[in-house]
């Protein structure tokens, strides 16, 4: 590195030539160790600051892709977190994210390479949000916050650099989705009328956790004028039941309510369980609607939805039971409810997720 004597201001600090910085950054790009954006150079001394944030051994395996015979250790996770631009104090959240993703299980099943083009999405709860500056409010799915941006990116860079999931090679996504750059949000617990998500599943109030989801789309719901909870819940249910989302017989979803919508429900006396139940019961399609979209039956082999006239078709569960209205969800447990975003408009979203279509979500404590 070339150093110069500064004329004033930043007294005594060595200055680095831009050519040197560019040479380092291009080195990473030339090796393909990137999602396409510039990455942060990493040194052993910088890595040690990440290791100082965890009690785990650098060689401990956090998650495996056995079908690729590849493992992500604490050390590899730290390298990619640093490359993603994480500060060392974010690293416990990254470690918890891998624990949650491992618990969720899709990482080991090849879904991360699938044509469907899903992305891992992280939801962070508890005191760690404020500690590291995770955004839970305005533009929660968007840009502008280093912790959100880089923690999600750390997962993607690891997928690329550790597991080798590069597009056009082992990543077969037909289109992918924008969350494949980064997808880490926090729950707006302070402006939620209800307990936070993890406390529904046995975690203490205020516990710092990461919940792992596998998502395909974030579909927005505009409902600024209604004050009737049944109308809003019907809008949400109709969004969940859209035929385009029906890949399998049933699907799952996470409803991310803006605080205004959450308070509309709570003000009318609804709990999260009430909303889940209503949405389960009303997220349905008629047999005719499914047939018109070519999704009125299942593949006998894969149980994916297809047209009744397809040579591999078999009746779906609703047909076997003689039902004319077909639920998009297996049960109310297939719906998660969180609160996220600013309290400034009647706007919410449905995060279209891949499983679990019942049972608790994958939540790991931040250590």
């Amino acid at each position: 590195m070339t150093t110069q004597q500064p004329s004033s201001g930043v007294a005594q600090l060595p200055l680095v030539e831009i050519d040197d910085i560019r040479r380092v950054m291009e080195h990473y790009a030339e090796h393909g160790w990137t999602d396409g954006l510039p990455v942060m150079p990493v040194t052993e001394s910088y890595l040690s600051e990440f290791f100082d944030q965890t009690t785990r051994d650098p060689d401990e395996v956090l998650v495996s892709m056995t079908h690729l015979d590849r493992e992500c250790t604490v050390r590899l996770a730290a390298i990619n977190a640093a490359m993603a631009g994480c500060l060392p104090e974010y690293f416990p959240v990254v470690v918890a994210a891998w624990a949650a993703l491992d618990l969720e299980g899709y990482v080991a099943k090849g879904i991360w390479q699938s044509t469907t083009g899903t992305a891992p999405m992280l939801l962070v709860n508890g005191a760690v949000r404020e500690k590291i500056g995770l955004n839970a409010k305005g533009n929660v799915f968007g840009s502008g916050f280093r912790a959100n941006a880089t923690i999600g990116r750390a997962i993607r860079l690891t997928a690329i650099n550790v597991f080798g999931l590069r597009p056009h090679e082992l990543d077969q996504a037909t289109q992918g989705n924008p969350a494949k750059y980064t997808a880490c949000i926090a729950e707006n617990e302070e402006e939620s009328p209800w307990p936070a998500l993890p406390s529904e599943y046995g975690f203490d109030d205020g516990a710092s956790t990461v919940t792992a989801l596998t998502m395909r789309s974030v579909v927005h719901i505009e409902a600024r004028h209604t004050t009737v909870p049944e109308q809003l819940a019907t809008d949400i249910a109709g969004t969940i039941a859209r035929t385009g989302a029906l890949i399998h017989e049933t699907i799952s979803a996470c409803i991310a309510l803006g605080p205004e919508h959450a308070h509309l429900f709570a003000g009318a006396g609804w709990t999260k369980a009430d909303l889940r139940r209503f949405v389960y019961e009303h997220a349905t399609n008629s047999r005719e609607a499914l047939a018109s979209a070519g999704k009125d039956a299942l593949s006998a082999k894969t149980r994916w939805r297809l047209a009744g006239e397809h040579p591999d078709s078999t009746p779906d569960t609703a047909a076997e039971r003689g039902l004319s209205e077909i639920n998009a969800l297996t049960s109310e447990a297939a719906v998660l409810v969180i609160v996220a975003g600013a309290r400034n408009a009647g706007v919410s979203a449905v995060i279209e997720t891949f499983g679990p279509r019942g049972g608790p979500p994958a939540i790991a404590r931040v250590e």
């Binding site: 079908h67 690729l68 015979d69 390479q113 080798g164 056009h168 090679e169 082992l170 077969q172 040579p311």
Partner: protein
């Protein structure tokens, strides 16, 4: 691709078949498994939207290739 390689490794003759859209990924998986020379059969894309007759026609087309690879393994 992985299944074909693992079956062959277990001593079971196997053929991996993919559509041309997955040819690059199939080769990448063969490399991951340390078998860059692993032969597989490529058929035209797509499959999911074809009828029985079209599927059968594609199968008949590649049977000689399947037999050639099996006999050579």
């Amino acid at each position: 691709m992985a299944d074909g390689i693992l079956l062959e490794r277990a001593g079971v003759p196997a053929i991996s078949i993919c559509t041309d859209a997955f040819q690059v990924t199939a080769k990448a998986m063969a490399d991951v498994y340390g078998r860059p020379e692993f032969e597989f059969v490529v058929i035209p894309h797509p499959i999911a939207s074809l009828g029985v007759a079209e599927i059968e026609a594609n199968v008949r087309e590649v049977i000689p290739e399947v037999l050639r690879i099996l006999e050579g393994s």
